[in-house]
């Protein structure tokens, strides 16, 4: 995976620079939500199980990506959005099965957020975003046990004949 360049366009500049910051902040918010959500996922999986180990690995991945995105935003002279104290979960979690469903939904949200980076013209950020969409889709497949035709893309963006 290629890390995007930390060298920035001038802070507070053009509309293009604002779009980059907005997309990075959106991806950061998704990673913060995933970092929180995986704590809930891990707590509802069988103690010491392979599933719980996978959840721990994924949780660490999201925290690292959260830190990388924060650094990219700071390098552009902007303050990263702080994480919320708590997040509204997309689905209630009271069992191992519901925890796995939550993990898949968290990855869907992350994939959608990284597609915002793919829309940017900056080559490094576009590539980074696309790699992360793929990584999130792979984690979602592992949790869900099935695939999606268009990971991260909302139905409204698809053209129906």
């Amino acid at each position: 995976m290629t890390a995007p360049s930390a060298t920035a366009s001038p802070p507070g500049g053009s509309a293009a620079a604002s779009q980059v910051i907005a997309a990075l902040q959106h991806a950061l918010a998704a990673e913060q939500a995933a970092s929180y959500g995986y704590g809930v996922v891990g707590a509802h999986l069988p103690q010491g199980s392979a599933l719980q180990a996978t959840a721990a690995t994924d949780w660490i991945t999201h925290m690292r990506l959260r830190d990388r995105l924060s650094a990219l935003i700071s390098a552009r002279g902007t303050q990263p959005v702080p994480a919320a104290v708590a997040y509204q979960l997309p689905a209630p979690v009271q069992s191992s099965g519901e925890a796995q469903t939550l993990a898949a939904l968290l990855e869907d949200g992350v994939a959608q957020a990284y597609l915002g980076l793919v829309a940017l013209p900056e080559k490094g950020l576009r590539s980074f975003g696309a790699q992360q969409v793929r990584a999130a889709a792979l984690r979602a497949e592992a949790w869900r046990g099935s695939t999606q035709a268009f990971p991260g893309l909302p139905d409204s963006s698809l053209r129906r004949s």
Partner: protein, 186 residues
């Protein structure tokens, strides 16, 4: 000076003006005689259009590959295949359906100029042989290669098309573990 110009206009075009006009209008005159062909070949399509067309062709090959694989497996598997065999085939059918959706979305983004008749691409021919495991392995390799190829093409695309390519690349990458699990009988 203005008088000089007026006088020249009154006399008619100078020799120099006539030569310039002749050399400039010659190609147009020739074009008029020879018809549209003489205007030259149309400009090559933009990089994003070429990339989209290539992606559509590659997806058509992928759809044909799955059709060939399913046809082969349905005829080569024993009449009473094991539950794992049947499950594998249903997984392959699910993936084939997603490729059909990829192809439809890619085609919907290609806007042909009015009046043009896109040449229908011939149905790709794909040969499938071997055991169920061989077929799954062949499909896994094709999926990974397709995903990598789409990601390598993002640079020339406008933002929304790059998002579609990235999403399809992600989907095709997820087919690899799904097919691997199908081979293990899930």
């Amino acid at each position: 000076m203005a008088d000089g110009v007026a006088a020249r206009m009154a006399r008619g075009p100078s020799r120099r003006v006539v030569l310039a006009a002749s050399s400039a209008s010659l190609p147009l005159l020739l074009a008029a005689c020879k018809g549209v062909q003489a205007l030259g070949s149309p400009p090559p399509p933009a990089a994003d259009v070429s990339t989209l067309r290539a992606a559509i062709s590659a997806e058509e090959v992928m759809v044909a590959r799955y059709a060939a694989a399913l046809s082969y497996l349905r005829t080569s598997l024993p009449p009473k295949g094991t539950a794992a065999d049947i499950l594998s085939v249903s997984d392959i059918e699910a993936v084939q359906s997603e490729h059909g959706e990829h192809l439809a979305q890619l085609k919907s983004r290609l806007v042909e100029p009015p009046g043009s008749r896109p040449t229908p691409s011939p149905t790709p021919s794909v040969q499938v042989t071997g055991s169920l495991s061989d077929v799954l392995s062949m499909l896994e390799q094709a999926e990974q290669a397709a995903s990598d190829r789409l990601l390598s093409q993002l640079g020339v695309l406008p933002g929304s098309l790059a998002q579609l390519f990235a999403s399809i690349a992600a989907s095709e990458a997820t087919h690899v573990p799904l097919l691997t699990a199908a081979g293990r009988g899930r």
